[in-house]
Structure formats: C-alpha cells, structure tokens
Symmetry: C2
Subunit: 257 residues, 2 copies
C-alpha cells in the first residue's frame, strides 16, 4: 500500500532543505507538507496551548503544495496528526535541517522534536540534519542528505521502529560520493561555547545575546559526533524515556524524608 | 560553604509557586531568582539565538528581589549561568510548577528543560512540579511541594548528581500530612487526549486550537505516574542521553546502503 509521508522541518516552509526532502520522499510514497512559516531553530519541543494556530497554503519552487503554520515544528506535527488532514500518516520525516543535531542538541532541536511529536502520536519519526560548517550557510548540495533520508525511511518502512523510538540521522558536509557509509551510533557529547554578549540599545538600556562560537563535539568512536568526524552518516535511535536507569539504585539509597 | 541556589520556573516570575520555592530554598543557601516574565508552559527546551533577551528587575510579594527575562526558562538559566550574575551557582531549582510533569511531559516542560539547561551548564538541576487536578488552578497550599523540594535539594547537595542527570520531582495534590512518602521512579506513560478544535474568526478565516481533555497517565508501579496515583512524591532521575540503547543492535542489522 502506498505510504503516507508527512514532511516537516524547523527552518521554515521555504527552506530548500524541505523541498529536497519532499522530492526524495515522493519516491517512497504520498507526501504531505506541513511546516512552520518561519525559522524555529533551537525552539525545543513545543506544545502551543495558549494561543490558536493559523495555517496558510504555500507553493514551493517546484509547484508542489505545502501547508505552513505559525506554530513550532512539533505543533505542525500535532496539527497534521490531530485532524487538519483527513489522512493518517505512516511516517513523519523532518528536515533536511541546515546544521547537524548531535549530542545535547536533540532536546533543543525543532527537527528532532518534530520527530518526537510523531512518536508521541504513535507514528514513526525520522529527523534528518546536514552538518553545515561555519561559512557554508548557503549550501545547496543535498544529494548525500536525500540519499541518507531515503535509506533511513526505507528501513523504517521495512522494519518499523520500536515503540517510543525515533531515528536521528545526521549527514557530514561531504559530496555524496565522498560519504564513507552509515554508522549506527549513540548520542555523543556536544561542547557548547556560548557566551553572553551584553550590548546597549540607543536608549541606553542593556540587552543580551546568547553568543559565542558554534558548538563543537567530542568525536568519540561509536557516537554521532564521531561518525560525522570520520565521514560517515550517523543513525542514532533515540527514545523518549529519559529515565537515568543507571542512577536509579544509587538515588534510591539516599535518605528520602 | 553557603550554597548558591538559582531558582527559576516556567509559570513566570510572579507565580506563587516560584515565591514558595524561593522562600524554602533560602533555608539551604543564598537564593537568586531569574525567571521568565510570562508563562512559558509547554514551551520546550529553547535556546533563543535569533533575538536578544531583556532582563527586568521585579520585587516579589515578600519584598525579595527577582530578575525576569523575556526568554524561556532555559534561556533564564543560560543568562544566569553565562554571566548575567557574577556568582557561580551550585544548583538550579525550577518550580514549583502548577501541574505535574510526568511521562512524556518532560521534553515539553519548561520546568524540566530549565533543569536540563542547568545540567548542560555542568550544574545539578532539580525540577519540582505539583499535580493540579482540573478545577484547582488557584491552589495555594505548597507545603508538600516545598517539603519535597527541600528534601530533594538537600540530597543533591549531600550526594551530588551523576553527570548528565537531573531530578524530576512531582508532588501529588495532597496536604503535606497526607503524603505517604517518597518513591524513586522511572518515567511513566502519559496519555494525551489532544484534539484539534477548529473555529472561524469574525473575518471567516479558520484557526485551530490544540484542545481536548487534560492528559492522564498509566499508573504503573515503579513509575512517576504510579507514585502520584498512590499518594507518594515521585523522584525520577532523568538523563540527557536519549540513545535508545536497546534498539542499537537491532537497528545495526538493517541494510544501511
């Protein structure tokens, strides 16, 4: 049976990464696009309850129909799965994000939290992100990313995903023919270099940017960060159960009264 | 040495839950308050990078000084730990939230993601949330919650927390003397009853609320949901490593090319 694929992202409905992903997904099934009407990077796992959401229709560059909401990526998935569309979706694919989502990025990432929202709705979710080195913000070569997305989604269609699990796919900034292959990885360690940047406005009032250099990571073998550093596409199964199981018995010995 | 405690929340700087928490934490150390200037419930793990943040000073009901930013709870923690204040904090405590944060709530929750942000900054984080049954939105009895917060924070001060770990504390809606005790738990299963509620504005344009009944949960023994259902305070150690370790070997056997 034809698969119904919902495509979303966090860079906004007009991002070329979304278009490239939607075109690739059309090889695998019927594609519906519902994405934010603006960039939501770093927006986290949002459930908008204090205001209503609007939906507008867009045409993408290739003429295809897309829907855009003024909510977060996870709101787009909620809208789409709670009944904005009549169809039920078989899989939700989010991306192609401009910038990798590695290590601790995952709970901030609109790309990943859109896939989380899918999983909470009982639908397999796949997040796809392309590493973008500083100064390459206008990258347009999505050939490695669309390849990675297709292989990942084909696998999810073939095998399913364990309950409560999503796939976090990250692609190194390489031409498709330079990619060394795939690595199934665990979440690695991001190193943030954030710095507070205080400025003063024309009325002499201070304001604060979260600034500093772009995050780096610890390229340990077996991790998402390590795979990308070696030229591999990283596939990390992530779960929504955040229980620190290894800490449970220790914390249980503390005095609780 | 006197502990330096940062208190934040996601209901906003003027929430009585924040005041109750700050007053209780003063028994354990020096308290600094930096919280959002408005309600951020369901706002997720935000890192605001596309705009600057403002900070205003407030006086709480008891006359104590508080700082409020126009960012998310996690932005407040970032501001506080990246240098808005000169001091380094020993612990970040977030709450007391109006409403439990159980099961899948944790990645949406501003209360919990504030504690996540602390952990990413290398500081122990504790999130404290009070179950609020429907129709009790004006609850003012924080005695069980402040008790739970104090015991949890004392324990964290005494024992530390494993790296990459935070404590998610949830309190049932009971008087302090009715509380049966503490349970160290794993993250349970939330059941959401969201429904899309389409309306039409005075200009005949549709808009959409994420509506439906309040979430419930599966009160399984050993879980946060189960503990609250039985009248216990729930203490769940959570980690920021979302790797689905049990899925790794299975996903590795898929065809990756």
């Amino acid at each position: 049976m034809t698969k119904r694929i919902l495509v979303t992202n966090d860079d906004g409905v007009l991002s070329p990464g979304l278009l490239a992903l939607a075109q690739e997904m059309r090889k695998l099934g019927d594609v519906t696009i519902m994405a934010p009407d603006r960039n939501w990077s770093g927006g986290g796992h949002v459930k908008t309850l204090d205001r209503a959401l609007r939906v507008r229709e867009f045409r993408l560059e290739d003429g295809s129909q897309a829907f855009a909401s003024d909510g977060a990526p996870s709101d787009c998935v909620a809208l789409a799965t709670l009944g904005y569309f009549k169809e039920k979706f078989d899989i939700v694919v989010s991306g192609i994000n401009f910038g990798a989502n590695l290590g601790h990025d995952v709970t901030y990432s609109g790309t990943v939290t859109a896939a989380m929202e899918a999983v909470i709705a009982g639908i397999p979710g796949v997040a796809v992100s392309l590493e973008i080195p500083e100064g390459h913000g206008n990258a347009t070569d999505f050939s490695a990313s669309t390849y990675a997305a297709r292989v990942a989604v084909e696998n999810v269609i073939a095998h399913g995903l364990p309950e409560d699990t999503l796939l976090n796919v990250n692609i190194p900034f390489l031409k498709k023919e330079e990619i060394k292959g795939f690595r199934v990885t665990r979440q690695g360690l991001r190193v943030y270099h954030s710095r507070l940047d205080e400025r003063v406005d024309p009325r002499n009032r201070p304001y604060y940017w979260i600034g500093g250099d772009a995050p780096t990571g610890v390229p340990e073998a077996g991790t998402d960060v390590g795979a990308l550093a070696e030229g591999f596409i990283s596939i990390s199964p992530l779960q929504l159960d955040l229980t620190a199981y290894r800490a449970l018995s220790d914390v249980s010995t503390w005095e609780w009264k």
